[in-house]
């Protein structure tokens, strides 16, 4: 952490930097809060008068190399003693222009690009991109592909939430939890590897279905994870949920109200922690989520503990969904039998000239998608993950925009951290669970 003595002295951020208090009128200062809290002008002016003078506060810089900032998030903090007044998240350190890259990749290659955005839940990126392409094509994927997608999504949600458990524990100082979380996440990833061949960045969900059918013995691999995890989740309860020190660190910390969360566009566990029961799986069902039973977990206080508890219980709900999927996995094709969209089976290439041509065309030129634009959203572990896709009728997207939940959720940080202690800031960042890969894209 570096102390910034003078504006723009120690960094080269220029205008992106937090403006010092002397250059900021009281009205401007309250604009940030006032618009969210819907304060009247009189209330805002009164609140601004209670603000300390510039000589009482200090601007400091946290990150982008700070271990608790989950990668390369940088926060400019204004502190009065140990109390955080203003926070400004500065992002962009991982920006690699993936939306620009997407415009030069075909719809088939697009999956390899988007899967790297939210690297903790790659299958959701592939799912939302593939669904957007399928909506433009106006095709329906076979039932088995739908259920395979649901199975993988829910397993990915489990692994992503377990990663949260690990990093949350690490940030709070519960190092055992970090080890437990990584260990159990590995069990979830082992199943994903058995099915897709890769632990991460699978590129398994593709336009038209999935890349391959479930392998032999997938039920055994799944049974191993499903047998292990429930007991381990009980251990988490013993280790963390009921532990006084852990509750002290999280309860009443980083509170956000439903009104604020909705105004800021927050989704996922952050919104649900404020008591708003909004889950796209239930409220705007996609795949076959309207055919499985699960509960939407909501909190009451909107604090860090609620967000922890929601994610812990969402793991249990996801495992419940997985059990229903295992029982009801339909038979049939795992991808659409449309040779213009999906490549023919490898064996067909040796015996059919037509299959060879289709194979060649799909992998060199790609398939063409009719003109149009759609917005498709799924419930990722972090909230609403959307894809806005524009096609001009060629085989590459004209514009591909991902609506990353972490990017929008990060805007809640200044409101959650305001008035709290500097040390609680770490818990708050952790509870937002940002993945910088999808923030910066």
């Amino acid at each position: 952490m570096t102390v910034v003595h003078e504006p723009h002295a120690d960094t080269s951020e220029g205008a992106q930097e937090m403006v010092p208090r002397s250059q900021l009128g009281a009205a401007e200062l309250m604009r940030e809060l006032g618009s969210v809290l819907r304060l009247s002008e009189a209330e805002a002016a009164a609140a601004a008068e209670e603000e300390p003078g510039e000589d009482q506060t200090m601007l400091i810089n946290m990150g982008p190399q700070h271990p608790s900032t989950h990668g390369v998030l940088r926060l400019m903090l204004e502190l009065q003693g140990e109390t955080v007044l203003r926070t400004k998240p500065i992002v962009g350190y991982l920006h690699t222009g993936m939306e620009k890259t997407a415009e030069s990749l075909t719809f088939l290659q697009g999956g390899t690009n988007v899967t790297r955005m939210d690297y903790a839940s790659p299958l959701f990126n592939e799912l939302v991109f593939s669904t957007a392409v399928e909506t433009l094509l106006e095709i329906e994927v076979p039932e088995r592909a739908v259920w395979i997608r649901m199975l993988l999504s829910e397993m990915n949600r489990v692994s992503s939430h377990l990663l949260f458990m690990a990093t949350n524990g690490m940030d709070i100082g519960a190092v055992s939890m970090m080890l437990f979380g990584w260990r159990d996440r590995e069990e979830a990833l082992r199943f994903l590897e058995q099915v897709t061949g890769l632990r991460m960045n699978h590129n398994f969900i593709r336009p038209g279905g999935v890349a391959a059918d479930l392998p032999d013995g997938w039920r055994d691999g799944l049974a191993r994870a499903l047998d292990l995890l429930p007991d381990h989740l009980e251990e988490y309860d013993t280790l963390l949920t009921g532990q006084p020190i852990y509750r002290e660190r999280l309860q009443g910390v980083g509170i956000i109200t439903a009104q604020e969360a909705l105004a800021l566009g927050a989704t996922g566990p952050i919104l649900r922690s404020t008591g708003v029961p909004w889950d796209l799986r239930r409220d705007l069902p996609y795949l076959a989520y309207d055919q499985v039973e699960f509960d939407v977990i909501v909190g009451t206080y909107g604090d860090c503990f609620d967000r922890y508890a929601i994610r812990l219980n969402e793991i249990r709900e996801s495992m419940g969904i997985i059990r229903q999927i295992v029982d009801r996995m339909p038979r049939g094709d795992y991808r659409i039998q449309d040779k213009k969209v999906t490549p023919p089976p490898r064996a067909r290439i040796d015996e059919s000239m037509e299959a060879l041509i289709h194979h060649f065309k799909i992998f060199t030129e790609g398939f063409k998608v009719p003109e149009g634009e759609v917005y498709v959203a799924v419930e990722s572990p972090r909230g609403e993950l959307g894809c806005y896709l524009v096609s001009d009728g060629s085989s590459t997207p004209y514009r591909m925009h991902i609506r990353p939940p972490s990017f929008v959720n990060l805007q809640c940080l200044p409101h959650m951290m305001r008035g709290g202690l500097m040390a609680d800031g770490v818990a708050v960042i952790s509870s937002v669970d940002p993945i910088m890969g999808e923030v910066d894209r």
Partner: protein
Amino acid sequence: MTDARTDDRGAAADVNPERQPEPEQVHGAPVTWSRGQRVVHPTGATYLDVIRGLIDDGFHVCVDLTAVDYLTAAGRALPDGVAPERFEVVVNLLSMQRRERVRVRVQVPEDDASLPSLFDLFPGTEAPEREVFDMFGISFEGHPDLTRILMPEDWIGHPLRKDYDIGRIPVQFKGAPEAR
């Protein structure tokens, strides 16, 4: 894959006038349908009023705000009375009560690439509007802090514009090896 059928119900109305004699409108702005999704097309002048009207209709959450540069695809389908411009700002709104989405597409001309900011209506558009400014150079009047968000502050150009080539910028790190 089925053939691309017409998505524009306004255009379909011309073919079959009995089914839909009047083009559908929301708060004075024409409405089209894209793959079953409702799209409203206000102008830059009526943009804020249409959004305010939609908020009154229950669309209380602004899910996403982004933009598209139609430099190389000018001939896209738009309803009557909407003149295509180079840029288009796309706002996705959500009504949790009605469990509905609506999309607002505004044409933004190249020579005056600016729109009023939605910050006062939806504080959550702060970061997305900065991203659009950064990537497309569209400015939002009334935005409290319109600076670059993803690119470095001293970056020249707006990368997601269609006339901004990929791979044009040499590696910026010191001591980078020469191009092979």
